[in-house]
Symmetry: C2
C-alpha cells in the first residue's frame, strides 16, 4: 500500500470516528438533561477519571495509554461543555486567569 | 433511560472509539515508515488541513464543526508524534544505531 491507500483508509476511519463521537455527544446531552432536571452537578471528576481509566484499560495499542488519555481529555472537555445550557458552542473556552 | 444506562452506552462507544483510534494510529505509523524510506517530511500542513476539513464535512452533529475540529487537532498532534522515530512515547525497537 502506498501513502494514498493508507490515507483512503484513514479517511474511512475518520468517518466512523466522527460518527461515534457524535453518538457519544448525544449520550452526554441526554445525561446533561437528566442532571438539569435533578439540579445535579455537570462536572463529576470521579466519573471523568473512570472514563479515562476505561479508555486506557481497553487500549491495546499501538497508541500508548498516555496518548489515549491525551485524546480523551480533549474529548471530555468538549462533552462537558455539551452539558452546559448553551451547549458550549458559542462561548470560546478560555483558561481561567488567562487574558 | 437513567444516567447509569447512558453511561453503559458511553462506555461501549468508548471501546469502539479507542479501537478505531488505534487502527488510525497503525495507518499513521505505516505512512511514517514510507516517509522515512523516502526521506519525506513528517509534517504536512496541507494534508492535516484536509483531514480536519474532511472530519468537519462528514460531521452531522450534535457536535459543532469547531468541536470536531478541536478534538481532531489533538488527534493529529498524537498521530504526527507516532510518525517520529521514537513514536512519541515508545523507544523505537528498530533503530539500533540510536543513542
Amino acid at each position: 500500500m502506498d501513502i494514498a491507500d493508507w490515507r483512503t483508509r484513514i479517511d474511512a476511519l475518520d468517518e466512523q470516528i466522527v460518527k461515534l463521537l457524535n453518538e457519544r455527544a448525544a449520550c452526554a446531552i441526554a445525561i446533561g438533561e437528566i442532571k438539569r432536571q435533578s439540579s445535579a452537578a455537570i462536572y463529576e471528576p470521579r466519573r471523568e477519571r473512570e472514563v479515562i481509566e476505561h479508555a486506557r484499560n481497553v487500549n491495546s495499542g499501538p497508541l500508548a495509554g498516555e496518548q489515549v488519555q491525551d485524546i480523551y481529555e480533549r474529548i471530555m472537555d468538549i462533552m462537558r461543555s455539551l452539558q452546559r445550557p448553551d451547549h458550549g458552542v458559542h462561548a470560546a473556552p478560555s483558561a481561567p486567569g488567562k487574558s
